[in-house]
Amino acid sequence: MTSLTSAETTSAKQLEEPKEHEDYRLFGLATFLIADGMTFAGFFAAYLTFRSVNPLPEGSIYEVELALPTLNTILLLVSSATFHRAGSALKKNEARLCQRWLLITASLGIAFLISQMFEYFSLPFGLTDNLYASTFYALTGFHGLHVTLGAIMILIVWWQTRFPGGRITSQNNFPLEAAELYWHFVDGIWVVLFIILYLL
């Protein structure tokens, strides 16, 4: 073993290695989101293959209304913008404003989920009716799970940005940045899902 004393070790460490390093937690989250996106990619590939090679039995219902999903798309796109406003407000140290924008974002997310529930209950098919129905529920449900997690995250971030006493400040804004990145990802997935599932 070594004979270096701890004092010598510390000074040597300061000489050789930088005291600070880049925060790579967002990099890790982005990598995770790529992985998560691949799960969706698998689902999309399965859906498109089913659609092109598996004809549905006679008399199957697969019509969906476009009004609610379009409203949902708008809700999520607006919420991405409001989350961005919350982030810039925090950077300018305006905790109150940031909190307000976060609350609006969370409300938009929850409104999306409620609207999705309305759509589920008004649809003329159930989970096991046919292949299209199963894939529809699997895709939207898996996405809805992501929105639910995101909404919970936003509410936690909202609670933590309160001033004084919250843990998230303009100096320590990683949790907000992480939730924002995740939320943009979920919105982006919805846009792809909307195009593939409703418009195609």
């Binding site: 270096l4 070790t9 290695e17 880049e22 992985a35 691949m38 989970l127 898996f142 320590n172």
Partner: protein, 558 residues
């Protein structure tokens, strides 16, 4: 961009609250070296269980009728053997164990990028493994093989299959977390001044492997979630009687499981590239081509999956594409093999156990690679599909390839892990019976497959009896081979010769610290090793510079 003081990263972790001594190996330790050894030992325990199951399979196959086990028990044993060996032994050990132990050393860091995530990833493995094995005793294990092809996996008893799915989802999650950690560590945590093209080859192998893990494992997770819906909620994604499509399952499954083969062998390639130069005292031949070969294998490995499906009614254009793409993989793999042979060529080779196992790997993997190229050709594949030829090919890749490298790596790094040397004679004896037993077990299976013996079945045509008994004799030798190995690793901890810091006189950074290393890897600053293979070929000044750069050089301590 936010910046975190590294002192906080290093000292904020509650290492001081962790148990000391051997107890820390049973704790939620954040030390990458402890986690690496946790992976290794845990994986080895599962290897013994999977090996016992393999022995049971070979005992059953000594006679053409199913007399040793009932047929459904045989199916369960087969499924457990495959799942345990792949998901609980090879993947966690070549990635998790050696990756966690070595990568922070190689990039000059004091721990992985995300130590807590790292510990979480390890601790997902024992519950998943225990759940998988206990399902055999409680509900009956899954019976549909490690591929879980529907509709078989939908029609066999549901409870075992669901437990299998949950276990594999946990293991896949652990693997993804590990992959994220390796990518962040290799890309972001490199010591300042260390360039990517100066990294030891194992870093590149883990970089490529982690890309494959992150891109392909989630697809398997999604597929298994859909499969569990088919089993539990009676949806019809993969159930033809409900209008579903089994081929979609096969595509999605092999989109993960073909890259999974590279997830098992690419790190092994990296480990061999570390071991051979040290024991030949020669630089690794063709470093740059090695790096490009790894990245070529990563890219090609993602677009060859349908060669597992040539008999699933794939259209001709798909067969053509996947045959050509698969054959192309032989090129970067061949480059790597010529580079290893060139590394050995004219080197001062010390034929110790580590080198013997590495050379055994080269021989076995070439044989497995040749049958692999043969299997990629559609006419031949249609003939031998689902026969023992495929079993033989696969075991030449994962046992003759990956497991031989794991043994080689244990012989190579055991002195670093424990500070003690292993018994060389026992090691050579271990190699001899493993190599003879392995080839005796699996080489005859090529003949069995070519003559049409189907795999995954407990019974077979009596004309194959003798060759099957020959194969079982080889399996017996392989089973016996674990005894000298286990004896060697256990008694060497207590009675082994003291190894010193650098018994092999290696130049890679893990040898430039004490054995076993201190908690923060180096007591002084992290050494900057820009020539990890600078044996002899570099000028003397450069070598001296490397030696003076390291703080705890063995020559200085002695």
């Amino acid at each position: 961009m936010t910046f975190v003081p590294s002192s906080e990263i290093n000292n904020n972790s509650p290492q001081s609250l962790q148990p000391k001594g051997w107890l820390r190996y049973f704790s939620f330790s954040l030390d990458h070296k402890v986690i690496g050894l946790q992976y290794l030992v845990c994986g080895f325990v599962f290897y013994l269980i999977g090996g016992a199951l393999a022995s049971a399979i070979r005992i059953e196959l000594t006679s053409p009728i199913s007399d040793f086990m009932a047929r459904d028990v045989y199916n369960q044993v087969l499924t457990l053997h495959g799942t345990i060996m792949i998901f609980l032994w090879i993947v966690p050990v070549v990635n998790g164990a050696f990756g966690n132990y070595l990568i922070p050393f190689y990039v000059g860091a004091r721990d992985m990028a995300f130590p807590r995530l790292n510990a979480v990833a390890f601790w997902m493995i024992p519950p998943a493994g225990l759940m998988l094995i206990s399902s055999y005793f409680i509900t009956g294990a899954a019976q549909s093989g490690w591929t879980a092809y529907p509709p078989l996996s939908i029609t066999t008893p549901a409870a075992g299959q669901i437990i299998w799915i949950i276990s594999v989802l946990l293991l896949g999650g652990s693997s993804i977390f590990g992959g994220i950690n390796f990518l962040a560590t290799i890309l972001k945590l490199r010591r300042p001044g260390l360039k990517l093209m100066q990294l030891p080859m194992y870093c590149w192998a883990m970089f490529g492997t982690s890309i494959l893990v992150v891109l392909s494992t989630p697809v398997l997770a999604g597929t298994l979630i859909l499969l569990s819906f088919d089993i539990v909620a009676h949806t019809g994604f993969f159930n033809p009687s409900l209008g579903g499509n089994v081929i979609v399952y096969q595509h999605l499954f092999w989109f993960y499981s073909h890259p999974a083969v590279y997830i098992m062998v690419l790190p092994a390639f990296g480990l061999v590239s570390e071991i051979l130069p040290v024991h030949c005292k020669k630089p690794l031949f063709g470093y740059t081509t090695m790096v490009y070969s790894i990245m070529a294998i990563v890219v090609l490995g993602l677009v060859v999956w349908a060669h597992h499906m040539f008999t699933s009614g794939t259209p001709p254009w798909m067969r053509l594409f996947f045959t050509i793409a698969t054959s192309f993989i032989a090129v970067p793999t061949g480059i790597k093999f010529f580079n290893w042979v060139a590394t050995l060529w004219g080197g001062k080779i010390s034929l110790n156990s580590a080198v013997l196992f590495s050379c055994g790997f080269i021989i076995n993997f070439v044989l497995g690679g040749i049958t692999g190229v043969a299997l990629a050709q559609v006419p031949f594949d249609i003939h031998v599909h689902d026969t023992y030829f495929v079993v033989a090919h696969f075991h030449y890749i994962v046992y003759g390839g990956s497991v031989f490298v794991i043994f080689s790596s244990i012989y190579h790094w055991y002195p670093k892990f424990t500070g003690k040397m292993l018994n060389e004679n026992l090691g050579r004896f271990h190699f001899l019976i493993t190599f003879v037993g392995f080839n005796l077990c699996f080489a005859p299976q090529h003949w069995l497959g070519l003559n049409g013996m189907p795999r995954r079945v407990a019974e077979y045509d009596p004309q194959f009896t003798f060759v099957n008994q020959l194969s079982s004799l080889g399996a017996l030798l392989m089973a016996i081979s674990t005894i000298p190995f286990l004896w060697n690793i256990i008694q060497s901890i207590f009675k082994g010769e003291v190894a010193g810091d650098n018994p092999w006189e290696g130049l890679t950074p893990e040898w430039l610290t004490s054995s076993p290393p201190p908690v923060e890897n180096w007591n002084g600053p992290a050494p900057l090793v820009t020539e990890p293979y600078g044996y002899g070929a570099v000028k003397k000044e450069a070598l001296d510079e490397t030696t003076t750069n390291k703080t705890e050089s063995p020559k200085q301590t002695e």
